[in-house]
Symmetry: C2
Subunit: 200 residues, 2 copies
DNA sequence: ATAAACACTTGCCAAATGGCAAGAAATAAA
DNA sequence: TTTATTTCTTGCCATTTGGCAAGTGTTTAT
């Protein structure tokens, strides 16, 4: 067990700053409204049927989002490595019921803020508003790119992309989860891995 | 050539009303801020590199969105049949440069409003604000479903889905555009069509 | 420590999709 | 109308991916 209960908001502040350069004063104020959260492996951060009501900065650990297809099979839709924001953008911003689950793959630690508090901050700290827009842009753009790559790349190319851009995924996630994320079966992924390692 | 220059906002008003039940008075006010637009076949409504600055209600005609993959091949990302809203949500709401083109597949007619005017309306007509949220929800949800279906359905299933939900597409769009939308080659689409027609 | 459950790999073969090129059909241009 | 251009289909074969089941290795529970 790591020291997940010690509160130190430096990483959170650095994260906000990297997205939005504002004064240290304001940063501290914003950060003060986030609260420490910790999750044990397999805990849920979001369950389908609920509204994604918390925006989480993930400082330590690894999470994944998944949903079910029409045949009842689990499909992984997203991976969240540490030092990232975790939330389901469409549900969070639109206040609609989420069709996705977000679950801790390892023990996790982070800082979260509710939708209402975040809006309060947008109101009281005008400089912070741009952060809200940036949050959504990031999610939307990432999502579009993912869709595009599903259309015009082979499974092996998608695998290569993933391993180059997100090595941590292979460190934490199960192959069957990575497989459904890539849109293939775990059998195929296993073979692609084998071929791929030969080529390198 | 149809009478595309005559202004009659009934269809626009009906469209808004179907998304947001408000008084006839308010509807008329809102509609008065939209202006008539017409496009000749192959005209662009949006070009990549620009910000999607107009929200268009498409009354007549058919449009499609496309972008290019890393190998320079065109990929159709969306079809817009008549009686729909046409805009690139992430660019429009986030004020970021669009990576997509939106082009008239046939001659088109519709009513458009700029981002600034729309925001003005959200401000001056509180009842209308919910419309903005609905706009985004619709786009985001549609997008997620499309991505999911790319992961867990076969090309033939995606084809069946499309023909059941959007018959007009097959009336207007070229097969190669439908093919890239479905994530397959035009050759494969041609074969799937053949097989599919046998089964029906 | 042992058993049970789970995760991953692999062989065999089937099914889905792609690549290329030729021909047929539809559309646009002259 | 005739010709040219573009779109769509199809045959042949290669490649990619999937389905199933057995086998191996790893983790978890008792």
């Amino acid at each position: 067990m790591t020291g997940f209960t010690n509160e130190n908001k430096e990483p959170l502040i650095n994260f906000i700053q990297s997205n939005l350069p504002v004064s240290t004063q304001i940063l501290a104020d914003i950060a003060s409204h986030f609260e420490l959260r910790s999750f044990t492996k397999n805990d849920y951060f979001l369950k389908e049927g609920k509204i994604s009501n918390d925006y989480l900065f993930l400082e330590e650990g690894f999470m994944r989002a998944f949903t079910f297809d029409i045949n009842g099979y689990e499909v992984t839709t997203y991976f969240y490595p540490k030092n990232r924001a975790v939330f389901e953008a469409s549900s969070f911003f639109m206040r609609t019921i989420s069709t996705e689950n977000i679950q801790a793959v390892t023990d996790c630690k982070g800082y979260s803020i509710t939708y209402d508090k975040l809006n309060m901050l947008f109101h009281s700290v005008p400089e912070f508003r741009e952060f809200g827009r940036a949050m959504l842009v990031k999610e939307f753009v990432a999502f579009k790119q993912r869709t595009l790559s599903l259309i015009n790349k082979s499974a092996e190319e998608r695998y290569a992309n993933l391993i180059n851009s997100n090595k941590e995924i292979f460190q934490y996630a199960q192959l069957k989860h990575i497989a459904s994320y890539l849109g293939i079966t775990d059998t195929s992924l296993s073979r692609i891995r084998k071929e791929f390692s030969k080529k390198q």
